[in-house]
Subunit: 407 residues, 2 copies
DNA sequence: GCTAACTTGTTCAAAGTTTGAACAAAACTC
DNA sequence: GAGTTTTGTTCAAACTTTGAACAAGTTAGC
């Protein structure tokens, strides 16, 4: 029940019906492959003739291809159709505070190559290094001619339309235009997006077939805490691309000071640094941004903490369960307000999900308005490895498969 | 950029283009009336012939009508088109804790008749009384033959699809089926919705032309606190119809106990009762649900409190400004997370908007992540009178104008 | 009072869809 | 090898938009 915007609408042309059905066919092949024309016709409840026309067009455009012939009990055997993912490449980039990740994937999001280097915080230098590495990785894998785009995930607020990083505190970037220089150097479409939003896209477009729900939120817990919101199959970006910054929702107005400058933010209770600070007994607000004090502690990570907890360190366990409790409380707030079909959580803390689940659920039950809300399925991010990179890849592939905008 | 749901999609038929363009025409007439066929053709960038066909169909269906002829500098004069709102009636109902409101409106949301009675909390009795009054009001205004539906706003969680009130604590209702008995008795389509969601629909569909944004939230502050979320011209209902219950977001985990049973909810800081409790120095959690102690105070309302504040009562002023501050803090959370284009606020407290705006804005600035967020336009509900009833009317009219579901 | 210019609204054929049926191709059963 | 079943294609009909021409109505200018 959408309202038509009377100042920005799309009139249906005589090709509109075809475009709509073409995208439906493409998506059905993607979801149900291998699948025959006749199967598509049955699922769509249209004549096989229409499917033939559309499929031939999609084959001609190189989007799908005919594979083996299938088996049937009786009658002519169907020819199976598949989405063409090989020989269509995407470069995915994940720029983080400490390191930058670079992955070459095919159109199905499968990893082909991966490299890593220390993040140079000066944008121009980082861009130069990225360009060099991207050229090399494309050359090495003979992918230069078939690379269809570059997707970049950023820990901060990004204007997805212009490709400008508006504010990324972790990188100390403000109004950095990444797209223009990269597009010029590489000659490829560049898509840039905020990391939690990218993670949500990865689940939606690259998650295992049949599992991706239409309404969900993706909560990332790492240096910061962010949320990617998907409603009705659409990523919510917000009017100024800020949507999803629930990491700074207050849990207590006199709680710990957050790195954002405010007080009592959810992030200040559950970020990796917050959990470590709780363990070591530090005051989060006194910490130099993003670092524990010098000494052996400065290299101590949340993964180390989880290892200690598993080894029987009671204080480590208690610090982690503190995070679990606040994770549940903040989650309850989001479930009450957005009521998604399911929740994905990503971040190192989820390697301890077996430990923390009961505490999270208990906190959820305390603050969720209804029992059904408290029982909302919580899933560990499908991509335990590099969810941000998968999301960056999805930035490039998603527009090919998206529904046409109409009305 | 919506993903097509491969398990629930709509194939384009040969009538789909027409349906899309028909709805666009209808909405353009609604927004820009009076408007001629030629104007429509220019706005839509299609031939006048297409518009003629569609307009004649819409006229035949009784959705629009030809009015006066317009003026031009030269050439044949255009005939103006209007949406037919007269002689198309809607019954809007607002059921609240103390009183129930019943309004007869035309299709433009204009009030034709209004009556009120004390709410009977027993559902069967309330339904009986409603049916009697609705029949009478239709008969009195000769509207029985042209009434197109009944819209009902409820302070609680409603399953919009089945018409069942899942949980309305204010009415002490659980799983009450309103639609079946009302539909049977009245023989009309019945639409039931949660009050803040209905208010959001009213702004979207019945607000002054040109003002209704495509992305906004509507925050209702009265007995409870709720939010109606509209993204991309679409009301967000959530997977279990709970979406928008941000009234129970925590501001402090050791804050005042809320009537919902939890602690430190936004609602427990800014609901009318919370503001009154702050003034009288009561502990909200000790209060019998929804009532101040007996005596003169039990009839004392938030409106009285505002009057006292305006008259110079410093304690009244301070209680209200307390609410203002918490209103701003909670709002900042929603702006960070949802990033709407603008915010509407409804409720008695907004009659004091001139007093509280600076405090709200200051709190907003403290917790909003960016300056632009802090400057998000805040508007008083367009319908200072009976916004819920307008929303109830919009429940009936909106489906007629909504975009067709496609892909 | 007449003509030219201009705008509105309608009519008609062409091009691109879906729709529905018939038909050829391929494979199995008896 | 005939009959049956399923797949995939072909062809005409119905319904769109598209683009042009045309009739109707109005003003300006002479």
């Amino acid at each position: 029940m959408r309202k038509i915007n009377p100042y920005d609408f799309r009139v249906a042309k005589r090709s509109t019906s075809r475009e709509i059905n073409r995208q439906i066919v493409l998506n059905l092949v993607r979801e149900h492959q291998p699948i025959s024309r006749a199967d598509l016709a049955r699922r769509m409840k249209v004549g096989r003739n229409v499917i033939s026309m559309i499929v031939n067009e999609l084959i001609a455009d190189g989007l799908i291809y005919e594979g083996a012939t299938g088996e049937t009990v009786r009658g002519r055997k169907p020819t199976f159709l598949h989405v063409r993912t090989q020989d269509r490449f995407v470069i995915a980039v994940d720029i983080r505070f400490s390191r930058t990740y670079l992955m070459l994937t095919d159109f199905g999001g499968r990893q082909i190559a991966l490299e890593t280097f220390e993040t140079v915080l000066l944008p121009d230098d980082l861009i130069a290094e990225l360009v060099e590495r991207m050229r090399r990785i494309l050359a090495t894998h003979n992918a230069a001619a078939n690379c269809e785009g570059i997707g970049i995930a950023i820990p901060g607020i990004v204007d997805h339309r212009t490709g400008v990083v508006l504010n990324a505190p972790a990188l100390e970037w403000r109004n950095v235009d990444l797209r223009t220089p990269l597009a010029k150097a590489m000659g490829l479409p560049i898509h840039i997006e905020n990391a939690p939003k990218a993670c949500a896209l990865a689940e939606m477009w690259l998650g295992a077939n049949g599992t991706a729900p239409n309404d969900f939120i993706f909560v990332t817990v790492s240096d910061g805490v962010g949320v990617g919101i998907v409603i009705n199959g659409e990523l919510i970006r917000g009017h100024d691309n800020v949507a999803g910054e629930f990491g700074h929702a207050p849990l207590s107005l006199d709680g710990p000071r957050c790195l954002c400058g405010s007080v009592g933010c959810w992030e200040a209770y559950i970020s990796n640094l917050a959990t470590l600070a709780r363990y070591f007994g530090y005051d989060l607000s006194r910490l130099r941004p993003k670092r524990l004090p010098r000494g052996e502690e400065s290299d101590f990570t949340i993964t180390d903490l989880i290892a200690r907890a598993r080894a029987g360190d009671e204080r480590a366990r208690s610090a982690i369960q503190g995070t679990a409790r606040y994770l549940g409380i903040g989650l309850a707030n989001l479930l009450n307000g957005l009521n998604p079909e399911c929740v994905y959580i990503g971040g190192e803390i989820m390697t301890a999900w077996d430990m923390i689940e009961p505490v999270v659920r208990k906190a959820l039950a305390e603050r969720a308005l209804t029992e059904r809300l408290a029982q909302t399925p919580i899933r560990i991010s499908t991509f335990s490895e590099y969810p941000r990179l998968r999301g960056a890849a999805a930035l490039v592939t998603a527009p090919i498969f998206a529904a046409p905008r109409v009305a």
